[in-house]
């Protein structure tokens, strides 16, 4: 019986993949196998979720060496009779996905936002054209590699019946030497992780409003983000705060959008927010059509008012 194999270097993401694998396996006769590489704790955690877990412990194998990692996964996939490999679509996972797919002669889809099963086919939903459209795609080759976006699935619950097995692989390191691992420098704001975002658009005309907007964000427990021109033309913020096609794709619980007209290049970065508020001088702004709550008002007056009333 063909198997689904899941792997991520991040345990939380591996547990999300396990939920995805359960959706795919349901009624389709797949078995689910999980892999951990040089990570005993992860193997134990996967087994605690009821997974048939295989662990590779091999000092020759480094996460940094994508060629060797792909070779390890290829060998595991062969030994375990795997038809479908699920990886996490974080950076490591995406880099690995293409290489593994080429190695096992598989079609591959990355950044998959959701999956539905249709007549045994795995239909994957992902953004294309820079997010202007959302495509449903499926892989037609026998072997498949699918990289699933973080947070697309909930993490799997505890379940009995898990096991831990050894899996030996024969690895030739590709000659990538890790000299140093270091924390990220600079403005380390992560607007993708924020639960609430206050987004500054070009409708916020004066830079004098920014301290007030920061105060609003602080009171709400929010991060401040912006549309692209506010960072690249006005230089009010660094590029790490840009929402949209050329910035970050965010899914906050609440997005308060101040003075953004709402072109697709922006909205792709915020349309998955749970609740969207648009405050805009312009009642015809497209942003208002994709908001849950709309306040048409003069931003110059509303921003100071807002900070006083939260």
């Amino acid at each position: 019986m063909a198997a689904i194999l899941i792997y991520s270097d991040k345990t939380k993401l591996a547990l999300e993949l396990l939920s995805a694998a359960k959706l795919i396996a349901k009624n389709n006769g797949y078995t689910i196998k999980t892999l951990s590489i040089n990570d005993d704790d992860q193997a134990k955690e996967l087994a605690a979720k009821g997974a048939e877990t295989y662990k590779i412990i091999n000092p020759e194998l480094s996460l940094s060496d994508t060629a060797a990692m792909a070779a390890a996964l290829m060998q595991a996939a062969e030994k375990l009779d795997v038809a479908t490999v699920l990886l996490s679509s974080n950076r490591r996972g995406k880099e690995l996905a293409g290489r593994l797919a080429q190695a096992i002669n598989a079609g591959c889809l990355t950044d998959v936002k959701s999956i539905t099963m249709e007549n045994g086919n795995i239909q994957c939903v992902r953004n294309v054209w820079g997010g202007a459209t959302v495509a449903v795609q499926q892989i037609t080759s026998d072997k498949q590699v699918i990289a699933i976006s973080p947070k697309a699935f909930a993490t799997a619950d505890d379940e009995v019946g898990g096991s831990i097995n050894e899996c030996a692989v024969d690895i030739k390191p590709a000659g990538i030497k890790l000299i140093e691992t270091r924390g990220k420098a600079g403005d380390s704001v992560d607007i993708e992780a924020a639960e609430i975002l206050v987004v500054v658009g070009q409708g916020v005309e004066s830079q004098e409003n920014l301290p007030i907007i920061r105060e609003i964000a602080k009171k709400l427990g929010a991060e401040v983000a912006c549309s692209k021109p506010v960072a690249t033309d006005k230089k009010w913020f660094g590029e790490e705060r840009i929402v949209g096609l050329s910035g970050k794709i965010c899914k906050p619980e609440l997005a308060i959008i101040l003075g953004v007209s709402g072109q697709v290049q922006f909205t792709v970065g915020i349309r998955d927010a749970k609740t969207i508020v648009s405050i805009n001088n312009d009642e015809k702004a497209y942003m208002n059509q994709i908001a849950d709550y709309v306040l048409v008002a003069d931003l110059k007056e509303v921003i100071p008012e807002l900070v006083g009333k939260i």
């Binding site: 940094s64 994508t66 797919a101 590709a174 030497k177 939260i310």
Partner: protein, 246 residues
């Protein structure tokens, strides 16, 4: 040493409009993806630092002969082009096969550069697939590349940390958008671009796609669109939804 940059010809995303939920691609200019332009700039900087020759390799439609001039103006010395079969969907495995075959015909390749994702599909597979085809080591998501003689120091930027890696050449590297700011070519560079050597490679572009696209539509956004008149009312509804008590 030859430095190779692989670039994908795509429609200018800023010009794509949506009609009846479908993307309208007619009359949209063709260009290269933004991150591909960062890969090209990284190649130009490495070429200048090492005195190498910079070759751009691209797969695209017949208009590629025009699009490729952008890369030649921005600093590539020569171009190899593969024209695809426009009747078929060009998926990542086919692009990678063609780019791998094209690079296989180039001698003395030191480093092969890609953007970490194309502007249209952003699938991020082709660089990794080409590395596998050519049997080369790879580093993805590079935010800096330094070549010292026969080896390279590459900094890979992950979500939570950075890795400084050393590898012998040849190597495949995909770059992040923040690695550099692509230069704008001068008028004289644009004029010279037309005279730089470019060659159409005779490769069999007609491979079967391993992907099927079942639908591709702009998402329907169903939002409440409730107009509130005052800040007080706005804060009240948000509070009622439990969005402010944190």
């Amino acid at each position: 040493m030859n430095i190779v940059v692989a670039m994908k010809q795509i429609p200018d995303l800023q010009q794509i409009r949506i009609r009846n939920r479908k993307p309208v691609l007619d009359d949209v200019a063709l260009t290269f993806g933004n991150i591909d332009k960062n890969a090209l700039e990284a190649g130009v900087q490495l070429k200048e630092a090492t005195g190498s020759n910079l070759i751009v390799v691209s797969v695209g439609s017949e208009a590629l002969e025009d699009t490729i001039k952008e890369a030649l103006a921005a600093g590539a010395d020569e171009a190899y082009m593969v024209l695809n079969d426009e009747t078929k969907e060009m998926d990542s495995s086919n692009s990678a096969r063609l780019i791998g075959e094209a690079i296989g015909k180039i001698d003395d390749v030191g480093i092969i550069l890609f953007g970490e994702g194309s502007g249209d599909s952003y699938s991020g597979q082709v660089g990794s697939r080409v590395a596998q085809i050519l049997g080369l080591p790879q580093v993805g998501y590079a935010k800096s590349i330094i070549i010292n003689g026969n080896s390279a120091i590459v900094t890979r930027s992950l979500e939570d940390c950075e890795e400084v890696l050393e590898a012998d050449l040849p190597i495949v590297v995909s770059v992040m958008a923040d690695i550099n700011e692509p230069r704008i070519p001068s008028v004289s560079q644009i004029l010279k671009a037309g005279r730089k050597p470019k060659e159409i490679m005779d490769l069999d572009a007609a491979g079967d796609s391993v992907l099927e696209t079942l639908s591709n539509l702009a998402p329907e956004m169903q939002r409440k669109q409730i107009e509130v008149e005052t800040i007080e009312k706005l804060l009240k509804v948000l509070d009622n939804e439990g969005l402010l008590r944190r």
